[in-house]
């Protein structure tokens, strides 16, 4: 029995089909990412699970119970939002204990639990602060602590990192993964950022226009994309002519060569971008207008390669 299941959930807003026959089941303790471009229905799926939006058809199962008719405040879904959502008039500790307060838990017990949760997200010193006195990353961690303090059945995270800057984003991302593992709380994580999804998830659910394209482990989705959409959305991919058809090859599976005159493809280098661990090289194929992006490890490349240089490309031996 899964912890949370969407069974054939559909939802439309006017003539926009936000979700079409959306079905996925999360195992207890699992972290599943909904990954897809903006407007593909990720938020709608979360909001239906949380009870903020009603599905047109289908059901939401919590364990074996269909909760589709249950009002949001009786569902015990912990939610963290894209925008900062701490209650501005309450200090950090009272924010964290809000869920217990509305449930009528006594003051002392509430305080104890709030401090435990703040400890868990390593913000125990900030209990007395007001939300506007702490940074964005801290606010999202408090929001996590607040959601977890209420002992939710499931944690729903709607792009909780998108308002943060790159460094903090990685920190909070790792925090989320750690909490998910340590507490064993089933988590649904929404993002449009494939790196984020790849690094945090047990499984990724790739969505496009309200439809699930593929569900699988990060490795699986990357190595065996179920559709051209998935192949292009998760990681970079080159579409190269092979005979009369096109073949999809990841940049790291291409090898550049300056001496092999019988290379599978040939073209001129149009751009070289040093990224740190590797160098991105764009090549415009001969007889082809569209430049393809080729990724190569910097050590594999001669020092004398330069923009405009004619170069051969081979598919790496598997």
């Amino acid at each position: 029995m899964s912890a949370l299941e969407f069974a054939n959930v559909s939802k439309s807003f006017g003539d926009v089909n936000a979700l079409i026959n959306f079905s996925i089941a999360l195992e207890q303790g699992e972290l599943v990412s909904l990954l897809g471009p903006s407007g593909c229905g990720k938020t709608t799926a979360l909001r239906i699970a949380a009870g903020f939006e009603t599905a047109d058809t289908g059901s939401i199962l919590l364990g074996s119970t269909n909760i589709i008719g249950l009002p949001a405040h009786e569902r015990r879904m912990g939610m963290v939002f894209q925008s900062y959502s701490l209650f501005p008039h309450l200090n950090i500790r009272d924010n964290v204990s809000f869920g217990l307060r509305v449930r009528g838990v006594r003051n002392e017990a509430r305080k104890k639990r709030a401090d435990e949760m703040l400890d868990l997200v390593r913000l125990s010193d900030l209990g007395h602060r007001m939300p506007h006195q702490i940074s964005g990353g801290q606010q999202q961690r408090v929001a996590l602590a607040r959601a977890l303090a209420a002992e939710p059945h499931v944690l729903l995270l709607d792009e909780p990192l998108s308002a943060l800057d790159a460094k903090i984003r990685v920190e909070v991302r790792d925090e989320i993964r750690r909490l998910n593992r340590d507490l064993g709380v089933t988590t649904m994580f929404v993002t449009h950022d494939q790196d984020e999804a790849m690094s945090i998830s047990d499984r990724i659910c790739v969505m496009n226009s309200g439809v699930i394209e593929q569900v699988g482990s990060p490795r699986d989705v990357y190595d065996n994309p179920a559709s051209s959409f998935v192949a292009h959305f998760v990681g970079s991919i080159n579409s190269l002519p092979k005979g009369n058809t096109q073949t999809l090859i990841r940049p790291e599976n291409l090898v550049l060569t300056t001496h092999d005159q019988n290379a599978q493809w040939r073209g001129a280098i149009t751009d070289i971008t040093f990224v740190g661990a590797f160098t991105k090289i764009s090549v415009r194929l001969e007889n082809d207008d569209a430049p393809i992006s080729v990724l190569a490890i910097s050590t594999q490349i001669d020092h004398n390669i330069a923009i405009g240089l004619n170069i051969g490309i081979n598919e790496a031996a598997q």
């Binding site: 209650f87 869920g99 509305v102 602060r129 007001m130 702490i134 209420a150």
Partner: protein, 276 residues
């Protein structure tokens, strides 16, 4: 250039002071000096000041009655307005943003309708369905609620716009708060300043309204003052000054509360900057 840069603001302030203070001083002299108006001049500025006229008026049972009528009407108007406008404004923001313009326009309508038309129309309706209501002093409450509605709506509207309303409501619900809890524990505390503002504006509207009260023949404070001006001009003017002073004190209190809300934010922000 610098000389003028300094002198103009000062001159401006001086003119403003004269403009506001001179009439107040004249009023005070008329109300509190036992000297015939005709002989009020420079030489007797400090002579024969007395509060007798004011006290005579304050002791007048008619005054006490009109004051209590006005205060009760004010209280009811504030309550009625908030009970109607808080849910309406929240609803507009949460569920029907397209209707915001419509609601805003409706709240301004009474200013397009002349009071006499309003009174004749509304009292005509009451006379046929509930004549007893027109006899009561509280029949003013709906009129005053309508008059103060634009201020209440705007003040709430501004307060709500400053919040991320949708997210706060959803966050509270996901934490288990019922609609009542969301309202009581999240929305009202965050709208505190707006609520105080709109209550204050309602008080000033009610305490300053004369036309409708006189059309409906209600003995409100402004009505009393207008009538007392004929009988006991010194006392009436003294009372006017007293109300002015009280209103100023009330206004100062309100802005202190408002500032306290604001500075608690900014001063703590400075500490907040030290967080790593």
């Amino acid at each position: 250039m610098k000389f003028f840069g300094k002198i103009w603001p000062r001159l401006y302030i001086a003119v403003a002071i004269v403009f506001f203070v001179a009439p107040l001083l004249s009023m005070a002299r008329f109300a509190f000096q036992r000297i015939p108006v005709i002989s009020l001049g420079k030489d007797n500025l400090f002579k024969r000041w007395t509060l007798d006229g004011l006290f005579t008026t304050l002791r007048d049972p008619e005054f006490m009655h009109s004051l209590s009528v006005s205060l009760k009407i004010t209280l009811f108007t504030v309550v009625v307005l908030l009970v109607i406008m808080v849910p309406t404004t929240l609803w507009v923001h949460l569920a029907a943003p397209r209707w915001r313009g419509v609601v805003e326009t409706v709240t301004i309508l009474p200013y397009v309708v002349p009071p006499i038309a309003l009174v004749v129309g509304v009292s005509g309706t009451y006379r046929s369905i509930a004549p007893w209501f027109l006899a009561s002093n509280y029949s003013l409450v709906p009129f005053y609620a309508i008059l103060a509605m634009p201020f209440t709506f705007r003040s709430l509207d501004v307060g709500i716009k400053a919040l991320d309303l949708r997210t706060l409501v959803d966050a509270a619900k996901s934490l288990g708060a019922s609609s009542f809890r969301v309202m009581w524990n999240v929305l009202l505390p965050n709208l505190r300043t707006s609520l105080i503002n709109s209550a204050f504006l309602t008080v000033t509207v009610v305490l300053g309204e004369f036309t409708i009260a006189s059309l409906l023949l209600k003995r409100t404070l402004p009505m009393y003052m207008a009538q007392a001006q004929g009988r006991e001009p010194q006392g009436a003017l003294g009372l006017g000054l007293l109300i002015l002073v009280l209103t100023t004190i009330l206004f100062t209190l309100v802005s202190i509360i408002r500032k306290k809300d604001a500075t608690s934010i900014s001063s703590k922000n400075i500490n907040g900057g030290m967080v790593p």
